[in-house]
């Protein structure tokens, strides 16, 4: 029995089976539910770490199941896959702890945690997908299992938000399906291959290839919230805070960005894509999204909506990085998958804390909140400064590599975008920090709850502190051997160029 062929399958099961068991649990079996959830999390983490070490030593982990007569379902743990899987499983652990605290005493928790685990199953599946059809399957699964989380509150407003979400994502999925089948009819394979697998397609099919590229990017662009396909994201803010945190940091939005990385580097191959003239327009589109998202964020008073538009903007850094053809920019883009993840999840955790503890939803209500909740706001500050790109926080590393990469690839205009966007980031984050730390505290908070002797319940407080530390650590220790940055350099060497 060869274990190497089973481990990727086990990772999928380690979140899928707990999900099924959690669905079957009665609402009041809190202890058992938490236990199952944490067992799933830790088994997933252990397997991912195990494969990390294995891949470093040159092992191959691959599971194959027959799906269609000539197409397999492939789960493969390459370096890029592991990067995304590690991010998902670590953030899943923190979000689970946070969600347990956040949903204390609210109804339908079995349903919530069941679908939450299924979201992770789908995300881990997306990361380990070894070909486009497997990717498509998990990507669509993610679309569906995130839906009950978005409409979790069961209000009319939530239903409408869910409807918008489905409208966009199902449409995107359809484009994706068309692109995938079309590609398959041209190449006869869908296997992700370092540097692409379309070399054998003849010149007479170039029009088809261009169309396929557009279809695939548009399909993934919906989830990655590329302008003009971003409309669902700010509306999905109706979901509970842990869901927003998860959606923005790893699951839904990142799956789209990750798909774009896969398409450019392992379906088309970046040089071929550049040759077809496809990367430059994508870079421009990403740049437009970066600026647009930031400008929109400036005008939001609702904290979560401002963060949502900030996500629109930040995720496009990843796309910008991979669309500027050059190894250094690519490193900047791909490492931003991780960096944006930890920073944005910190911000959403903090926003959830403010809402749960003090009933604060709007930025105008945040005066002096730094004195009432110093630890939460410290974490928030680290996340916000990281987003702006202040060293030594992780966001700085991403922007540094993006800038260097743009210069290397002779795309100086990107520098202007980066500067402009950083100014805008500062424009919408610094006023929040100023209010929170320097303005006087009001007499009464909108809706204050007593959550224990600390500034808020520990379950809500510890996750953002950890993610803030991660954001700081990833920046400070970027040059150390096991940092995300070093791992992305390894990916770039092995798979991209």
């Amino acid at each position: 029995m060869n274990w190497d062929t089973l481990i990727p399958f086990f990772v999928i099961m380690s979140s899928f089976l707990p999900a099924l068991m959690i669905f079957a649990l009665a609402e009041e079996r809190r202890g058992l539910r938490i236990t199952l959830n944490l067992i799933g999390v830790f088994v997933t983490l252990a397997l991912v770490v195990f494969m990390f070490i294995g891949v470093y030593q040159g092992h191959h982990y691959e599971t194959r199941l027959s799906l269609l007569p000539d197409l397999d379902m492939v789960l493969r743990a390459g370096p890029l896959a592991l990067l995304f899987a590690a991010l998902s499983s670590v953030l899943w652990l923190l979000t689970t702890v946070y969600a347990i605290g956040y949903l204390e005493g609210s109804p339908h928790r079995s349903r919530f945690f069941g679908f939450f685990s299924l979201c992770i199953t789908a995300t881990i599946g997306v990361s380990f997908s070894g070909n486009l059809i497997t990717f498509l399957i998990f990507y669509e699964m993610l679309t569906l299992v995130a839906y009950p989380l978005i409409v979790h509150r069961g209000t009319e407003e939530a239903r409408l938000a869910g409807q918008t979400y489905l409208l966009y994502t199902i449409f995107g999925g359809t484009l994706l399906l068309l692109g995938t089948v079309w590609l398959y009819t041209l190449t006869g394979t869908l296997e992700f291959t370092p540097r692409g697998f379309i070399d054998d397609v003849g010149e007479e099919h170039y029009f088809a290839l261009v169309s396929i590229f557009i279809l695939l990017i548009a399909g993934f662009g919906v989830k990655a919230a590329l302008v003009p396909l971003h409309g669902w994201l700010p509306r999905a803010m109706i979901a509970p805070a842990p869901v927003s945190a998860l959606l923005h940091a790893v699951a839904v939005v990142k799956a789209g960005a990750f798909g774009i990385v896969r398409v450019i580097y392992e379906v088309f191959g970046v040089e071929k894509a550049a040759l077809l003239g496809l990367t430059q327009p994508l870079a421009v589109l990403a740049a437009i999204t970066i600026i647009y998202g930031s400008v929109m964020a400036l005008f939001q008073d609702d904290l979560k909506r401002r963060l949502a538009y900030s996500t629109v903007s930040q995720v496009s850094y990843i796309i910008l990085g991979v669309a500027i053809v050059g190894p250094i920019a690519t490193i900047g883009g791909v490492v931003h998958l991780v960096h944006q993840g930890v920073m944005k999840i910190t911000l959403f955790f903090c926003a959830g804390n403010l809402a749960e503890t003090l009933g604060i939803h709007k930025i105008s209500e945040m005066n002096g909140v730094g004195r009432r909740m110093p630890l939460t706001m410290t974490a928030f500050t680290i996340g916000a400064l990281g987003m702006i790109g202040i060293p030594p926080i992780a966001g700085f590393v991403s922007k540094w590599y993006l800038g260097l990469g743009a210069l290397e690839a002779d795309q100086e205009w990107v520098i202007l975008i980066l500067i402009g966007s950083s100014l805008l980031n500062a424009g919408y984050f610094l006023p929040i920090l100023y209010r929170a730390w320097f303005l006087p505290t009001p007499d009464k908070w909108p809706d204050e709850h007593d959550l224990g002797p600390n500034e808020t319940s520990l379950m809500l407080l510890i996750p953002p502190l950890i993610t803030a530390l991660l954001a700081l650590g990833f920046g400070l220790l970027a040059a150390s051997p096991y940092s995300p940055l070093e791992w992305v350099k390894l990916i770039s060497r092995r798979e991209f160029y």
């Binding site: 199941l65 799906l67 269609l68 007569p69 498509l136 069961g154 939530a158």
Partner: protein, 487 residues
């Protein structure tokens, strides 16, 4: 031992078991639920053994009483027949388990004889190999189905059943006329003989016209679908499931067989394109109508009209690249049977629970009936064709065939159809989470009614993972090789 068991005449038992069950349940009404369940279990077991035998020895062929064609009746089963038999057995089991809870003690003695009789007739149809037997079984199925439709006992149900009766009788009559013409023109009713003798003569084309008109009326292909929504929506839920999942498939199966063996090889393209076009309109029209409905059962019924359309798209796509398109057809037919029966059972649960099926007022069904809601969502995933599900595999094949042939019109139809389908499925799902302003009573549902729906829907999803092995079994006997050469 195993060898001996496999060699038993399972095909004959497939007809005898349900027939006997029907008689026993009629004579012994107090025990009809038990008799029914035992019978459908035996049917499933028989299909399994028949499958073993076919996989091992190839096509099954049996001349009843040793007479053989052209005088006697032949039983014939290749991979395609086997798949249809399996479909009947699986859906039959699910619906039967459900029916034990759904019908009251007074209703079930009337339900079981008819339903077991339908199973016997369906099995006989799928095992037949001559066009006159098809007629006989088709007529039996049609009459039993009409009686089942009238089960609702409301005025609405009677008028729907009456319309259904007229449609199905007219359909059989047209088909019979076509059969007579073929017999007159080519001197046989045996499909294999006909496929050798038939030539492109006016008689053949007149027969084709009559047979297509009759069968398409029974299959409810647009624009001959007018009887379907009211009949399928007003029948009791288990009956709706049977009608949508199995009975429309029976006439479709005959049509497919005759096309593959007799008409297809002689046709030159125009007829196929017409079917493709009608199929395309059915997909759009059915989905659009489904989207407009305010009642769940009507929505599901119109969805059947649309899904039937997909089956006919393949006729056009099969002209070049046959096997992929036909594989798509049988896969879609099979998964649609599972998913659609699950959906109708779900609608039955919702009616049973809340007393109505207005989509706007589903009132947090997701909380009250989580299993039922999950069943609907899973069945919906398969009907939309989202991965991983049997429906996805079928639509993948269709899309592949359309793209290879650069039939952009069909590509567009397939995609728009999927989007519309998604729209009406999620219209229902989204209302399952919200609260309704109207208060209403509810009564508890027996657990097995919920689980029957869920397992059927789950089977439709599961089919997404076994397409290679299932399609290799379907290929036994080469049902899709044109000219119908039987090895």
């Amino acid at each position: 031992m195993m060898q001996f068991v496999i060699t038993l005449p399972w095909a004959i038992l497939l007809i005898l078991f349900p027939l006997t069950g029907a008689i026993i349940s009629f004579l012994w009404p107090t025990q009809s639920n038990k008799v029914g369940l035992v019978t459908v279990s035996f049917v499933l077991i028989s299909v399994t053994f028949l499958a073993f035998s076919i996989i091992e020895h190839g096509v099954y062929h049996h001349a009843i009483g040793g007479w053989g064609s052209p005088l006697g009746i032949d039983l014939y089963a290749d991979g395609l027949s086997l798949l249809m038999l399996l479909m009947t057995a699986l859906v039959g089991l699910g619906v039967s388990v459900y029916a034990t809870g759904y019908f009251s003690a007074e209703q079930s003695p009337r339900f079981w004889p008819l339903w077991l009789f339908v199973i016997a007739a369906l099995n006989a149809l799928f095992l037949s190999a001559d066009i006159f037997n098809y007629y006989v079984t088709l007529e039996l199925i049609g009459l039993a189905a009409v009686s089942l439709t009238a089960f609702g006992k409301s005025r609405e149900a009677y008028s729907a059943a009456m319309r259904y009766l007229l449609a199905t009788l007219l359909g059989s009559l047209l088909y019979l006329l076509g059969v007579v013409l073929l017999y007159h023109g080519f001197g046989s009713v045996d499909i294999a003989t006909l496929s050798e003798r038939c030539e492109s003569t006016p008689i053949l084309w007149a027969a084709l016209t009559l047979i297509s008109a009759g069968l398409l009326l029974k299959t409810a292909l647009f624009p001959l679908h007018f009887w379907l929504p009211s009949a399928h929506a007003s029948a009791p839920a288990p009956v709706s499931a049977i009608l949508s999942a199995l009975i429309v498939k029976s006439s479709f199966y005959i049509f497919l067989r005759l096309w593959l063996t007799i008409f297809g090889p002689l046709s030159e393209g125009a007829v196929e394109n017409m079917f493709g076009l009608l199929g395309a309109i059915a997909v759009l029209w059915g989905s659009f109508q489904a989207l407009r409905q305010t009642r769940l059962k009507l929505l599901i019924a119109y969805s059947t009209v649309a899904q039937i359309g997909y089956l006919f798209l393949a006729f056009s796509l099969a002209m070049s690249g046959a096997v992929v398109a036909w594989n798509a057809v049988v896969y879609l037919a099979f998964t649609h049977a599972l998913a659609k029966s699950a959906m109708f059972l779900v609608s039955g649960n919702i009616l049973y629970f809340g007393g109505h099926d207005r989509i706007m007022n589903l009132d947090r069904i997701a909380q009250h009936l989580p299993i039922t809601t999950t069943a609907f969502a899973l069945a919906g995933v398969s009907i939309i064709g989202l991965p991983p599900s049997g429906g996805f595999i079928g639509k993948w094949f269709l899309l592949e065939a359309a793209l290879v042939q650069e039939q952009w019109g069909f590509v567009a139809i397939l995609l728009i159809g999927s989007l519309l389908t998604a729209a009406y499925i999620f219209k229902v799902v989204s209302h399952a989470f919200t609260q309704s302003s109207l208060p209403h009573d509810s009564r508890p549902i027996p657990a097995h009614m919920e689980w029957a729906a869920l397992l059927l829907a789950f089977a439709a999803i599961l089919l997404g993972f076994f397409s290679s092995s299932i399609l290799s079994v379907v290929g036994i006997g080469y049902p899709f090789e044109l000219n119908g050469v039987k090895p």
